[in-house]
């Protein structure tokens, strides 16, 4: 029997934010997620920490929230944010009147903007189009959704939080108009179990409508697909936004060694539909090229899509016209005490959304503790001394990024393993310099159920080779950690098929070449098809 008061459904940014918030207020909570953390939109977006500039012209309230949260997250989440800064660029073909409205919006929402000359802009962003007419600097940054979620979890666990991944809610239980609990299915073992609680929070993102339906409620969520392209190098040094009315393919976000171009906005019916097509790639490329002329010379690593859970109130619209704001629905008004749904919103404001929702939950539970999520740092970073002494064993390029990924406690364990066992210094991933010791550290965690879980935590398979070399090594490491209880060949095959999904819509240029290398290794040299006699 789990001793909890609140059950949170959904392991995206909002869900993990709520878990941390409630637990910090002393409210015992459990988060359940049907897959791995961030397998929805929180792991499938461009990883942009908005300065608010994107919304300044249209939605000042959203812009204001963004800049406030931007400042808070830089303070509490330095390990998942890369402070790149951002630039808004107006091309000669873009309406100058829009810029005026934008500047006014920024001013009123408190979004700091610094105009720079075109010469300066070209100097710091040499890839920029010669058709740039004006440029402004803002406080955008790059944010890592995977890391952010796991660091929220790590922090929440310090306050007694519980979380179960691969647990899907199959029934929401109530009695006399009051929430009683929920029935769950363990998606790994198939086993079913019941948890009892006073409050259920539906933070299921694009699946929120489906979850609400389990409680007999109707919440209209329109999944809105955003496709993105990841390129294999840092094409730009800062987030580059096109200064025009928000549209497809007009934002570039640099992340470590890669750059993300996004996004599209297409309404879809199925919250599982993250498919992408050649046509979407072409459209994004066409618009992207207007800002970065040599774009096509860069290799595409992969294409992926996430689903924005746009909330459509009665009579509202879908698509880009729909609000990027969020809504909290207390279903007490629908006759179900203890049930909440939170929908819409943006990754940048996840903490604020969690705070507002938690305020309402706390009130309902007569808890008067204030929200403290904005004050406390999410993870403890290793000290400079600890980093310095680990330098001898870590691959030079991988050290800093590994500290961000691992946090102090895990970093200490990985450093120790590297020091003690030279064989664990082998690089599983040569693209991003990830050692066997780190892969084993994460593979050992009970939340790791397959190579994709391992990938989201360590970045194996996310670099240039897209798994061609590391699928084998990661599968082997995983197999050994699991003491031979998994089929390594099946695991690597599944992993490579997952990578293929993102490569396939952009199968030209060097992505095609890399695919042939992958086939040469796994089909010719390893005969992966010959797995069973």
């Amino acid at each position: 029997m789990e001793d909890i008061r609140v059950l949170i459904i959904g392991g995206g940014a909002t869900g993990v934010g709520i878990l941390r918030d409630l637990c910090m207020r002393g409210i015992p909570s459990l988060l359940v997620e049907k897959g791995d953390l961030t397998n929805g939109a929180s792991g499938r977006f461009h990883g942009l920490l908005h300065s608010g500039g994107r919304y300044a012209a249209k939605d000042r309230e959203a812009a204001k929230e963004c800049i406030e949260e931007n400042i808070i997250l830089r303070r509490i989440g330095a390990d998942f944010i890369e402070e790149t800064e951002g630039m808004f660029v107006r091309l000669t073909s873009d309406d100058p009147l829009y810029k005026d409205a934008w500047l006014e919006g920024c001013e009123e929402s408190g979004v700091p903007v610094m105009p720079i000359t075109l010469t300066e802009a070209k100097e710091i962003e040499p890839a920029l189009s010669p058709n740039a007419a004006e440029a402004f600097l803002v406080q955008d940054a790059a944010i890592d959704g995977f890391r952010m979620a796991w660091q929220n979890i790590a922090s929440a666990k310090n306050y007694g939080a519980k979380f179960w991944t691969y647990h899907e809610v199959i029934e929401i239980l109530s009695e006399n108009g009051k929430i009683k609990g929920a029935k769950l299915r363990d998606n790994i073992t198939g086993e079913e179990k019941t948890v009892y609680c006073e409050i259920v929070v539906n933070a299921a993102g694009a699946w929120a409508g489906k979850v609400a339906a389990l409680a007999g409620l109707s919440v209209r969520v329109q999944p809105d697909k955003g496709a993105l392209i990841a390129f294999n190098r840092r094409i730009v040094n800062r987030v580059i936004n096109r200064l025009h009315k928000a549209s497809d393919g007009d934002i570039f976000v640099p992340h470590g060694p890669v750059t993300i171009l996004g996004t599209s906005s297409i309404s879809v019916d199925d919250p599982e539909d993250t498919s992408t097509s050649r046509e979407e790639v072409e459209r994004l490329m066409r618009v992207g090229e207007e800002m970065i002329p040599g774009l096509r010379n860069n290799r595409i690593l992969r294409v992926y899509a996430g689903l924005r859970p746009l909330y459509i109130p009665e009579g509202g619209v879908a698509g880009r016209g729909a609000s990027r704001g969020f809504a909290i629905l207390d279903h007490e008004k629908d006759g179900l005490w203890g049930m909440f749904t939170i929908v819409g919103g943006k990754f940048t404001t996840y903490r604020l959304m969690a705070e507002k929702l938690s305020d309402q939950v706390a009130k309902k539970l007569n808890n008067t503790e204030p929200c403290r999520t904005a004050e406390e740092t999410l993870v403890n970073a290793p000290t400079e001394d600890e980093k310095e002494s680990a330098k001898k064993y870590f691959p030079a390029f991988g050290l800093d990024i590994a500290t961000h990924r691992l946090g102090r406690v895990r970093f200490a364990r990985v450093s120790k393993a590297l020091k003690k066992f030279p064989s664990k210094r082998i690089l599983v991933c040569e693209c991003e310099n990830i050692t066997l010791a780190e892969v084993e550290e994460i593979a050992n965690e009970e939340t790791t159920h397959n190579l994709d879980d391992l990938r989201r935590r360590t970045r194996i398979g996310m670099g240039t080779c897209q798994g061609a070399f590391c699928a084998l090594r990661a599968a082997a490491a995983y197999y050994r950690v699991k003491k031979g209880k998994v089929n390594a060949v099946k695991e690597m095959r599944r992993f490579l098929e997952g990578r293929w999904k993102g490569i396939r819509p952009a199968l030209f240029g060097n992505a095609l070449r890399e695919t042939e290398l992958t086939r040469a290794i796994y089909e010719l040299s390893f005969n992966i098809e010959g797995e069973m006699p």
Partner: protein
């Protein structure tokens, strides 16, 4: 006859070799190191039919291939002659191969699957595994990309019951800070102290009925280390395939290098051919970018062996825009997004993109959409050819050798 071969993968090297043997004056133009070092060096003729049924006799299976398949243009006689030439070449340079066209050889992979192929060095022939009482799977300390435990798990499923499998880890005392590859280990075994260490580590396990299964580390010098090892251990030893770069591919690179210098082939490295000089329907010369200037190579006969997407001979900078960059030959490719690739990377039908390539007549001269020959003295070989998915059917090296031979033996006016 002056023959110019462009490309230094297995196809190009073989074409140059056969052309020279037949008396041509041969120049081979190579832009880089070529793909042979990445090549497993297993001569796959045909291991799967188009619905992924395993082939038991490549000779028979080739008969039922569609007319568009390169093998059908080359013909079984040429395939046979090509493999014969290859076998005699490798054997005379100290790396004899075994195999034939009427059956398949099973090779063990580092993940314990078995791979069917047609010709391999004796060290890779997996037949001994089936007759073993006990297979000792040998991991090497610090060696990357070989996992004896996974190999054992999977290999068991493919072997007759009753064969005992044991994992051991040996130490070849390989120094240095970076990760150890099979090539590092093979170089170590080529040295006397490395070889002695290998023997010392294996000897205690070498008993009656034992077969050693090793990563591909038995030296880069032909079968020297392999022969010496089975002689002292008096037990069979089998090598697996490996990740690129491949030890066996490197062995072949060395063989071709030695053969070329022995028979006198003009091998020009670091020269990227950028265009052809055309006179009506004949190629007169090719122009190559050398270190500092462009150089023109005139010839009577030209053989294009620059590879496909992987080798770089065919590029696809954007959808529907495949290019062969030297002669601007038309590249056939399946049309439409659906036909371009399958939903799954691995599966039971060939990938459309892998069949993209240049279409030819039966003499392997490039043809246009109307099947008319474009240049009468230009021959297209290896992965430049369209109409087959070599990764799916396992036929890459077979087509490379056979097409090289077929192109090399033809005279031009």
């Amino acid at each position: 006859m002056k023959t110019i071969v462009i490309g230094s993968g297995l196809a190009g090297l073989m074409a140059a070799y056969i052309s020279k043997k037949r008396g041509d004056d041969v120049t081979l133009l190579a832009s880089g190191a070529g793909t042979l070092a990445q090549n497993s060096g297993c001569i796959d003729i045909l291991a799967y039919t188009k619905d992924k049924t395993p082939v038991t006799s490549p000779r028979e299976a080739i008969e039922s291939l569609p007319e568009t398949h390169p093998y059908k243009k080359i013909g079984i006689k040429n395939i046979e002659a090509a493999t014969k030439e290859f076998l005699s070449l490798v054997s005379s340079y100290g790396l004899p191969y075994c195999g034939d066209l009427d059956g398949v050889i099973k090779v063990s992979t580092p993940i314990g699957t078995l791979k069917s192929t047609s010709y391999v060095p004796y060290s890779m022939n997996g037949a001994a595994l089936f007759d073993a009482k006990k297979i000792v799977i040998v991991d090497v300390e610090r060696l990357k990309d070989f996992y004896g435990d996974i190999l054992r798990d999977n290999l068991t499923k493919h072997l007759p019951q009753g064969i005992e499998l044991e994992n051991i880890t040996i130490d070849l005392s390989i120094n240095g800070a970076r990760d150890v590859s099979t090539i590092d280990a093979a170089k170590r075994v080529d040295l006397k102290e490395g070889f002695d260490k290998l023997v010392e580590e294996l000897r205690p396990h070498a008993k009656e009925g034992v077969v050693f299964l090793l990563p591909q580390i038995l030296g880069l010098r032909g079968d020297k280390a392999y022969k010496a090892l089975i002689e002292v251990l008096k037990t069979p030893v089998v090598e697996t395939t490996c990740l690129p770069s491949s030890v066996n591919g490197m062995r072949l690179v060395r063989i071709f290098c030695r053969a070329f210098s022995d028979i006198g082939i003009n091998y020009v490295e670091n020269t990227r051919v950028i265009r052809g000089v055309i006179d009506k329907s004949r190629v007169e010369a090719v122009v190559a970018k050398a270190m500092a200037r462009n150089v023109k190579y005139e010839g009577d006969k030209f053989i294009l062996a620059t590879g496909g997407f992987l080798g770089g001979g065919i590029t696809l900078e954007s959808f529907n825009n495949a290019r062969e960059s030297i002669f601007r030959l038309p590249v056939w490719m399946p049309e439409g997004e659906k036909n371009w690739s399958n939903e799954k990377l691995f599966g039971s039908c060939p990938q459309g993109f892998a069949t993209a390539g240049i279409m030819t007549d039966n003499a392997l001269r490039p043809v246009d959409r109307h099947k008319s020959v474009i240049y009468e003295n230009l021959f297209v070989i290896g992965r430049n050819l369209g109409g087959y998915d070599l990764f799916f059917e396992h036929s890459g090296n077979g087509v490379a050798l056979a097409s090289a031979y077929h192109a090399a033996v033809q005279s031009v006016k």
